[in-house]
Amino acid sequence: MNDHLLLSLHLDGRLAGADRARLEERLRKEPSLQQRLEQLQALQRLSAALPTTQAAFTADQVRARPPVNLRGWSVRGLAAAAAILLLTHAAAFWFGRGDTPPTEVAITLAETEALLRRAAELGPAIPYEKLNGQLIDLRSGIHRTDLARRLDDLQHLRLTDSERRQLNRVRDTIAQLELAFENVRDPGFLSVVVSSIARGNLEDGSFPRALPAGTRFYASTFRLGNGRFKLVLVNLEGGPPVIREDEGTLEELRKKHEGITFIRND
């Protein structure tokens, strides 16, 4: 056993019996050893007296912390936001002209009504008051990563299992849309989809109504020009997102899609 180990054990009161007696005898006879022990004791006093760092966070801040897979997105998130912003403006320009019809397949009235009926049978929607405080600052310009993070924050609320499942479906769909973003062929189309999630359903607090009873889809409208609007429905039933659209005047859409809040994204 070398001297360093002996002194360290002695310092910690771990030497006993004959080992201790031998060391104490050496300490009396060897000033250099005694000096090293005194230095170690001083070092120990300094170490033990190091002020404890005071944590600056609270339990609430921990609750609001995004999961690790959504952190570190700042650069990619900014890039994505910039891309989406560009696409959204391009789409707004495209739709705003009013003389170019959208290319997406329009949902039929029967399909829409069936979807709405099915959604209505699935139980209560997420209470708006549970979401309002969290979503109030989700305004235009938000990008999908921010939205995903916000939704993830909602996991910390005391939601029912059903509500939690709804949110999980929303998050899954956003993740799927992120994957779809990689392979998109028509940037204008995707920008509508992303915008419909990021803006339309949240801007006027229609989140729970746009995610009615079981949260099977998102819905939003976009101005096409000439008094006509596009309705976008994003199916949230799992698997690849199914995106259906319809268009018409607001009156026509309201009549056809009763229960959906229509929003002017002018």
Binding site: N2, H4, L5, L7, S8, L9, L11, D12, R14, R36, Q39, L40, A42, L43, Q44, L46, S47, A48, A49, L50, P51, T52, T53, Q54, A55, A56, F57, T58, A59, D60, Q61, V62, R63, R65, P67, V68, H156, R158
Partner: protein, 201 residues
Amino acid sequence: MPGRVSPWMQAARESDATPAVPDEFLAARVAQGDGSAFDELVERWRDRVVDLARLMTGDRDQAEDIGQEVFFRLLRKPEAYDPTRPFRAWIRAVTRNLCLDGYRRRAARDKYQKRAAQQHQFGPAPLPSPAEQAVLSEAQEALRATVAALPRKFREVYVLCAVQGLSYEQASVVCGCGSKTVSTRLARARRKVLERMRKWL
């Protein structure tokens, strides 16, 4: 939820005879979704966790981040903690692992090196009054820097035993090695620290 107190916690606070609620019990309550138990655990442990992370990483901001991550993991995956084992060993082990995982290591290292370079360039900060306190503070900062520069296996036993006062056996649980290994590593760590801190002692 924040601000809400469970009936059992309320009873514990109102009764003078009630002993302190064990950490293990609180952790089990967290697994059942008890927000007030989580609040209590954060209150009890956040300083110690951040302090350990700061000593392990040498970076105050990173330590704060790791501290939040430790409790975040408890919140998100409370089942990761086995309530039959000591909570204090578990939370220190999680903290240690996060520190060692290289969690945002590059950013912290860059930041630390940048700061060290600035200190080297501009010299030590002027001593505030009283001077003795400043010298002590400077020695403490030197000690922090010295400990942070130790090799990992020496750093962790030094932090746990010499700074935080854990026994060899407790540190061995955190580090996942034998207590004899802890004692030899600690002796070597002390030797290394002593070599660099001699002028302050």
